[in-house]
Symmetry: C2
């Protein structure tokens, strides 16, 4: 049975994502995101599950920085990781209370500040006598209810597995469109087979000459590759210097993607391959001329022929 490290504690949305991404794995909660990534890097677990992006909060900085650690260290013991899969989780909360407590009797409702912000209107309408209380995580709020510190906790649905509390409500969210994207990480291994709806992720550092990033993106554009995400992050010690996270449609098993990655390698100071994996929301689409593998095979054969003097 494989083991999977995830950003804990038990009972969080990341646990839900880890269960969805690796249903048979042994779950190991870690205190921080860097700890979860470090566990799989060092081989202490087979897999890791971390949040990478939220439709409301944006990129998860701790994950971005942990994935880029290879670029920031000279420590050769830091081993790379790749993504094998992604999972989209709609963020809907459960409200847990002490057994038997009615909504009208809830005086305090605790959660992580981000979670409280996402259920404000629901709390005003449904727990009219409750005051908000801040907890370190959604799961810590549930622990606080068990201990009698709070009357109610706003948590991930999976928290009800871990704490003997009543579920007062479930599917709670002021905005129904909040989604978090999670990645399943492993040490480098052959990527999953192309599905026709895949994503390839890379991190790169480009020099600061004007136009360097434009040149990198032109390498993708000329190969018909659609960029689905670009994010710049300051390099920690050097405010004003940046590295870039790119997600693009396609799989390294396709010639146009392999060819583009080789071009990024020539052009960038550093480029880190974070994997090719199926898109969670993708629909397979045919690649069109001149970007098909057959186009690449034909053109390569032609170049080989003319180099031999066989002009055709």
């Amino acid at each position: 049975m494989p083991s999977i490290a995830y950003f804990g504690p038990e009972g969080t949305f990341t646990e839900q994502a880890a269960r969805a991404l690796a249903p048979d794995a042994d779950l190991l909660p870690m205190p921080t995101i860097p700890d979860a990534v470090a566990a799989v890097r060092a081989g202490r677990t087979d897999l890791a599950c971390v949040p990478v992006e939220n439709s409301i909060e944006g990129a998860v900085s701790a994950t971005m920085d942990s994935l880029a650690a290879d670029l920031l260290t000279t420590d050769t013991a830091t081993r790379p990781v790749v993504a094998l899969a992604e999972h989209l989780l709609p963020i809907r909360f459960s409200v847990l209370v002490r057994p038997g407590l009615a909504a009208a009797d809830v005086r305090t409702v605790a959660s992580h500040p981000h979670a409280l912000a996402q259920v404000q209107r629901w709390v005003r309408a449904n727990l009219p006598n409750a005051e908000p209380r801040v907890a370190a995580s959604t799961a810590a709020a549930a622990v606080g209810v068990v201990k009698g510190e709070f009357d109610a906790a706003v948590t991930a649905p999976v928290a009800s597995r871990h704490y003997e509390l009543d579920v007062l409500a479930t599917g709670v969210a002021d905005e129904s469109d909040a989604i978090t994207r999670f990645l399943l990480l492993s040490r480098p291994t052959a990527p999953p087979a192309p599905t026709g709806a895949d994503r390839t992720s890379v991190i790169l550092v480009v020099s600061h000459r004007p136009g360097e990033l434009a040149a990198v993106l032109a390498e993708l554009a000329t190969r018909g590759l659609n960029l689905t995400r670009i994010e710049s992050r300051p390099l920690r010690d050097r405010f004003g210097e940046y590295r870039f996270y790119l997600d693009l449609d396609g799989h390294i098993g396709e010639q146009r993607v392999a060819d583009a990655l080789a071009a990024l390698r020539r052009r960038s100071q550093h480029v880190l391959f974070l994997g090719s994996y199926p898109k969670a929301e993708g629909v397979a689409a045919a690649v069109e001329s001149p970007f098909r593998d057959s186009d690449y095979a034909d053109s390569a054969a032609w170049v080989t022929a003319i180099a031999r003097g066989e002009n055709v």
Copy 2:
């Protein structure tokens, strides 16, 4: 005396930045970042001060979304805002305690979770008997100490102006390089004069055809404009669709920048000008050929001449 809305409460780092950016202004704390931006949009204040980027946490999503509100609404009452200045604030904390309390007697130390994370090592070394407690903000932690809920609070230095507490330590930070960038916002007005070390900020929405962003960046590159930051944010209701925040070196008063902005206007579905303003850390540098205003004047004169039949 101008008025300035800022992301409060009193005693936060944003108050410090607001005092630095508008020393003579009347300070009005607002409960959220969107409230501060809305105050200046609606004309309830002359100015606003909001955090835009942190060297450790990355972009401040609430600010990015508030600045882009013009793109997301069809409400014509939403008036645009521009940045007039920026301020870089090193993030170093003060530790405030109840008057007379010694470090060894501190049993609980409270702050916002981000602040607690940034002083973890200092707390272990200097407050060996203290347990961390989560508060909604650094200023809320100080209020908690005043009320006797906690022994110590990790706060912005300016908090000591507002609360009658002892300053146990100041300049506290595990990593000495944490910096937050703040913007001074106003309703649209003529930008401050070019200094030779300026930044121009825009938000744009480009279509999803492969290569569209590459084409936009090529418009900047061919004019010698250095991109200092690029950030993609999903559009709230449409996960997978993105808008882009760009910071580039230069001032709209320079021909190369004005010309590039006109090209972005032609190429993008939407483009929102967020201002040209002096860089906080900038050193003035001469623009070189062929990107000088004189190069633009010469080439425009030549085109005018040949169009008249005066080939030269």
